[in-house]
Symmetry: C2
Subunit: 333 residues, 2 copies
Amino acid sequence: MADPYVVGIDLGGSHVNAAVVDVTGNVAGQAESPIDRTRPPRDLLREDVARVVLDAMTVAGVERRAVRGVGMGLPGNIDRRRGVCRFSPNFRWHDVEVARPLEEALDLSVFLLNDVRSHTLGEMQFGAGRGVRSLAMLALGTGIGGGLVVNGRLIEGAHSAGGELGHITVDPLGPRCGCGNRGCVEALASGPAIVRAVAELAEVGGATGILALAGSLEAVTPAHVTQAARDGDVDALSILSEAGRWLGVAIATVLTAIDPERVLIGGGVGQAGELLLVPARREVARRCRMIRASETPIVAAQLGQEAGVLGAAALALESVGLLPGLLDASHTA
Amino acid sequence: MADPYVVGIDLGGSHVNAAVVDVTGNVAGQAESPIDRTRPPRDLLREDVARVVLDAMTVAGVERRAVRGVGMGLPGNIDRRRGVCRFSPNFRWHDVEVARPLEEALDLSVFLLNDVRSHTLGEMQFGAGRGVRSLAMLALGTGIGGGLVVNGRLIEGAHSAGGELGHITVDPLGPRCGCGNRGCVEALASGPAIVRAVAELAEVGGATGILALAGSLEAVTPAHVTQAARDGDVDALSILSEAGRWLGVAIATVLTAIDPERVLIGGGVGQAGELLLVPARREVARRCRMIRASETPIVAAQLGQEAGVLGAAALALESVGLLPGLLDASHTA
């Protein structure tokens, strides 16, 4: 009998990626396509997403009968049990049925999860979270997503919001966050927050090194800030250091409330690595004194660009019983 | 065969309480004694604590052979698996063996847990947490203790610090907390924080209603502030409202990170009830917008003064298998 496979799908705001993956996390084949996120969700899923899945199976040389199930991570609040996206700011979806149209198109079982929660499962199984029973993950990008595993199980929460670590309040009177709150760590340490810090320095004649690298203020991305900081630019170092300290305030709260064995920092902005992690660790050490949680390793995630598809594959492997339980079994049918 | 019982012990800084409890949470008999917390721990446990346990059994008319085990809650960082108190500021204990001396004196199995984590188990089983699989508890007193249950299991944490919700940072530049951090919710909403707020008003000629009730500034307790607020004293209402709002910032972070089904507020200071809970709920509603966690009930705990012994009894019942698993089974022997 052929080795069993699953397909992991990473549905983002501009692209969809799919990979055919085996139980050890090896990618047998992969496909990708730009998408138009304004298409009606049913068409997007049955046509664009399904086609990329079939392409990935072709590339992998794996037939559908060897595929046991499909996992998909997507941004937003996902009702895993109903296969519904309750709310996704990215896609402007409200209560959209997601699993069923894809199941009909593929004739395979489809399992959904919030993208960063799914990354967290992927890191647990194939990445920087191997060998632990509890883990906090923060993925820094356009927003800050999160995931938490405790007692060997993902925290899903009563409203599928468990693990939304980006919306921890770190500064009660801080800047307005996209969610409506003030001073969420997302409003202080995400990509847009870093770019805004550049703009604030540029207004007073600073950030010249970063602007020179990017060409113009409008073109600045967090990657430019990281590059400038690696070249020793003091403004860039200072911006990343401040973002890292806010990240540290949030991590200190996670360590205090949850006390996981390990904290992983991923996402595109997380590529700044030690430039963010050193100030974050310092802030954690200052704030977590009584409890020994400040000994907890705070390290970079490992799956990088493959986090999306590998996380979704881990979800599928777990859901079809090819991996031991990582989700809360009591809620599954 | 006689009904099975357990003994729940609440070891506090000035008193020890013990109760003989059955599987439904009924107290068959209870005893209490003041203690000298500066006694050598071994003597305190083998003599004072053991005597109160035997007294409770006598009062209950329950013989030792009907007692299946003993649970004890005590303040501090407790290594449940080794039966050791790693650190208790209250008792000034560091790495003190607690379970064994008591087991030797009683010839019964003794199970330990941090006091508020044990309250959380008690509320789950016998109080305001019945019927849910996830729960956050904050106990407001001299400090702010906490406990978290997720996926039906208590979060214990990698360093037994899981659930230390009192040390969530709610104001990064706020007042110094006993733990060494700044702006912990404990530093802004505990009993001492409320009394300090009275002193700050008294310095500028305010808080006269509270001072009149208490007799003097030195005599003020949180209960006086609650009493004055119930009588309509504006200073007292304002102090509790501010404490409640800080509590709300911490709860908003708990809802965001964990998304439990219910939040319970207990402890002596929690007796202020709606005077704290209304402003806390408002703050949560302001801060948790995107996720529907702001619909989560935030309510008073139910066990009141019995929380200590009933929580410890729930721990014992769970540990000897008379209640379904509430602790992480993978770590128990």
